[in-house]
């Protein structure tokens, strides 16, 4: 996670992600969030309890990451930082050291930089989520010095802090359990049905019990006191307050009773040492299970990260060498042998092969690639030897972008979480109040004067009411759900989209590239001119356009070995066609509307055009120097899976609509073939967004699915925008979900995944609330012993996390 960069700069706005430690429940997350939001310059703060991260958007001109870190520490928590030592070269005097120190300190995310001139070493303390070691080295190099990572002893410090936490909690649990078992033994020995059980005399002694309970209370339980102190210092309350209060009440009351035995020598009644010790042991056990389960919920990212190649074979200065993946730069010439992974995104220069892209696109059939084709990093070269040029490296690769999107989604909040946040914010004070009332009712009314009995009920209420399950209910499901969806090639950009998707009842599909392959071929040429001359003019003009239809026409013309001419002027008229000057002649290629706009007479050709359109072909009219010259027709083919996917959506009760700029006839022919009942045709690119709005005005929840730049406004306007493709274009930026597979089945899959995740969140919230709302009255009435309340509380957190983990096994 140390390379988890999450910094974006837009003007002066910076976004940083901090790894937070010390949070125990939703109240902690809410407190940090509130504290950060109060800071001047902070625009947005989002704290995720499950991921233990805080994502902060702030004005970089007004404040720094260091101030945010200080604030988090002031609130009683800690930010994970790492230390890195760099060997510096090129320093000549103290001024150099100062310059490097200042330069490094200015990097956002660097908390402290210390340069030692004599040792030629820089020690940097930094936030790994905000700045990478590579950037520090870059900074030093920009200042005119050399820097390399001091690689030996420093690397061992970058062990996952979560793993360390698990090991620490395991040790504490064992310690606590060993000392609690004798106390539990003493207690069990007093039940009437276990009276025959042998209980050693030593464990019955109050002083021995006190000596056994004390280390558990103050060494193992220290974390609860510290947490409670920090919370109370900040005028709030969390789970630690409840645990500290409950166990302290039991412990100190027992100490009081034990002290009373001095001088009396013999008896003491109603000790509760085992209650405090067993409670702490069970809560530590719950935290241990929780930490383990939390670790499993971020497996999706680990899996994605594990996909990339570790090394690459590069040709530099005519020499082949194997280098670490991080050292590959753009334009590097790379060699990939059969069976090896493609190291980075690039373009094939030599060779042909079949590539297994299933890990990125989910497509199980290997894809044939040849010279000029693009390849994606982390895919597997199955059988051919490839020479390729790196075009995207580091954070720009498709895989890096996928990891970034999944990380952001996992760390984001779903609106449903607001409910949990608002409840847990006021929960603890209310619980303390209920516990006090319970105590008073028992002490004054139910069993007058029986302090021990009333105290027991108070402890049980305090302990059963810990809202930790409530805080974990939503984020763990979001993490597991978005992670599992990513494995299916569905990238949700945030928790809110994962939640919204299940409400979708209308799906608008763009035609080209979404329902169809988007790779039309030239099928018909109708002209009165010499065909070669006509096609040369059309091809030359269309060569300038990036529209898929234009590319199909140019490819078809090139196949006929017709030479193309230079174009002196070119204008793309979106929704109409193009206008170009070829060899001094004005060429128009496009729709009827284009001809009408330039007053070109086309009446005689309309029948031919309609015939072609009835066949689902797209006819493009051409005029040369203002006079109609002929037409070319292209046809696109429907993707193999589109018909089945559309049927599946209809079976799910969704209204499926096709939207296209094509004319009504062509659109209807394609729609009929694909099984779409409703068609919106002849829509200009800007009109797609309008059509989405019209449907929304009818109260429909609309998902727009598209792939091109022209779909971006509609994708942004729709309740959910879904972009198809490998996720590097404008459409992906505008969309809420990226469907890496080109397969339309991903639409139904994403809606299904959203349904399952939301159901899972609701189950979690229900159980978390049920534990508390049912548990509190049961404890207050006196049906729940404190140690049972502790076990139930620990079980509630674990059960919520385990329920969320079920999403990792979902089959779509």
């Amino acid at each position: 996670m140390s390379e988890k960069m999450a910094e974006k700069a837009a003007g002066n706005t910076a976004e940083n992600q901090f790894q937070i430690t010390g949070m125990t429940c939703a109240a902690c997350a809410t407190r940090i969030e509130k504290g950060l939001k109060k800071m001047e310059g902070v625009q947005e703060a989002n704290v995720n309890l499950a991921l233990e991260t805080a994502t902060v958007k702030y004005d970089a001109a007004a404040m720094s990451a260091l101030e945010i870190q200080k604030k988090v520490r002031d609130l009683g928590y800690d930010v994970v930082t790492e230390k890195q030592e760099l060997d510096i070269t090129g320093m000549t005097c103290a001024a150099c050291a100062t310059r490097i120190e200042k330069g490094l300190s200015k990097l956002d995310g660097v908390l402290n930089a210390n340069v030692n001139l004599a040792l030629e070493k820089a020690s940097v303390e930094y936030n790994p989520a905000a700045v990478s070691v590579k950037e520090m080295i870059q900074k030093v190099e920009n200042l005119g010095y050399g820097a390399i990572v001091k690689s030996d002893e420093t690397k061992q410090e970058t062990v996952d802090h979560r793993q360390k936490e698990i090991i620490k909690q395991q040790g504490k649990f064992i310690f606590s359990a060993i000392l609690s078992i004798p106390l539990l033994w003493a207690m069990v020995g007093h039940f009437s049905f276990t009276s025959s059980l042998y209980v050693p005399e030593a464990v019955m002694n109050p002083w021995v019990q006190m000596l056994l309970a004390t280390p558990v209370q103050f060494i193992i339980g220290k974390q609860f006191y510290v947490g409670a102190y920090k919370a109370l210092k900040n005028k709030s309350a969390n789970m630690d307050v409840l645990v500290a209060l409950g166990t302290s009440a039991a412990y100190f009351y027992s100490v009081y009773l034990t002290l009373q035995t001095i001088g009396k020598g013999t008896h003491s009644v109603g000790l509760y040492f085992e209650t405090s010790a067993v409670l702490i042991t069970l809560i530590i056990l719950g935290k241990l299970f929780e930490a383990r389960a939390k670790g499993r919920s971020s497996e999706a990212i680990k899996k994605l990260m594990g996909l990339q190649a570790k090394t690459a074979t590069v040709v530099r200065n005519g020499e082949e060498m194997t280098i670490p993946l991080e050292d590959v730069v753009n334009e590097d010439i790379l060699l990939v042998k059969p069976g090896e992974k493609i190291p980075v995104d690039g373009e094939i220069l030599e060779g042909t092969s079949a590539l297994d892209e299933s890990m990125i696109t989910g497509e199980s059939v290997p894809v044939d690639k040849t010279v000029g084709d693009t390849v994606i990093g982390a895919t597997i070269n199955k059988n051919g030897f490839l020479k390729m040029k790196a075009t995207k490296v580091g954070k720009e690769t498709a895989l890096a972008q996928i990891i970034k999107v999944v990380e952001e989604a996992q760390g984001s909040k779903a609106p449903i979480q607001r409910l949990a946040d608002s409840i847990s914010g006021v929960f603890v004070p209310i619980v303390v109040g209920i516990a006090m009332i319970t105590f008073l009712i028992w002490y004054i009314w139910v069993d007058p004067g029986n302090f021990a009995e009333a105290l027991e009920k108070l402890i049980a209420v305090l302990v059963i009411a810990c809202p930790c399950a409530l805080g974990l209910a939503t984020p763990t499901s979001i993490m597991a759900g978005s992670g599992r969806a990513a494995e299916y090639g569905i990238l949700f950009k945030g928790g809110e989209h994962l939640e919204m998707t299940h409400r979708i009842n209308t799906v608008i599909l763009d035609k080209t590239g979404t329902i169809t392959n988007g790779k039309p071929v030239l099928t018909d040429v109708v002209t009165d001119l010499a065909e070669a001359e006509f096609l040369s003019l059309v091809g030359s003009a269309e060569k300038q356009s990036e529209h898929p239809l234009a590319q199909a026409i140019v490819a078809g013309i090139k196949e006929r070995s017709i030479e193309l001419s230079e174009v002196s002027q070119f204008e793309n008229i979106p929704g109409y066609g193009i206008k170009a000057a070829v060899n001094g002649r004005e060429v128009l290629v496009g729709t009827r509307r284009l001809m009408k706009r330039f007053n070109v007479e086309i009446d005689g050709m309309l029948d031919v055009m309609e015939d072609l359109e009835k066949q689902g072909k797209t006819a493009m009219l051409t005029a040369v120097d203002g006079v109609y010259a002929g037409l070319v027709a292209v046809a696109d083919t429907i993707k193999e899976t589109s018909t089945e996917a559309i049927k599946r959506m209809k079976d799910m009760g969704l209204e499926v609509i096709m939207i296209t700029g094509d004319n009504q006839q062509t659109a209807t022919a394609i729609a009929k073939e694909a099984g779409v009942d409703s068609v919106i045709a002849e829509v200009l690119p800007e009109g797609k967004a309008e059509e989405v709005k019209k449907l929304q005005a009818q109260g429909k929840k609309v998902a727009m699915v598209g792939d091109g730049i022209n779909d971006a406004p509609a994708l942004a306007v729709a309740d959910i925008g879904m972009a198809i493709g490998t996720g590097t274009d404008v459409a992906m930026e505008a969309a809420d979900i990226t469907l890496i597979r080109g397969d339309l089945n991903s639409i139904a899959d994403s809606i299904l995944m959203s349904h399952k995740t939301i159901r899972n969140i609701k189950q979690n919230l229900f159980w978390a609330l049920a534990y508390n709302t049912i548990g509190i009255p049961i404890a207050a009435i006196g049906f729940l012993a404190p140690w049972l309340a502790g076990a139930a509380m620990a079980f509630s957190s674990v059960s919520v996390v385990l329920n969320a983990l079920r999403l990792q096994k979902v089959k779509l």
Binding site: K172, I174, L179, F191, S192, H267, A785
Partner: protein
């Protein structure tokens, strides 16, 4: 982890050992039979 387990076992043995040593010493000169057991609350 082993460190924690070992510490707990040693501590437990020390506490129990001290208790038996103390009761042994306290009982032998006077031969008193006073026990120091606790009445635990019943759950």
């Amino acid at each position: 982890m082993k460190k924690w387990a070992l510490s707990a076992i040693v501590y437990l043995l020390v506490v129990v050992g001290v208790y038996y040593a103390y009761t042994g010493l306290a009982e032998s000169p006077t031969d008193s039979s006073g026990h120091t057991n606790t009445d635990q609350h019943e759950e």
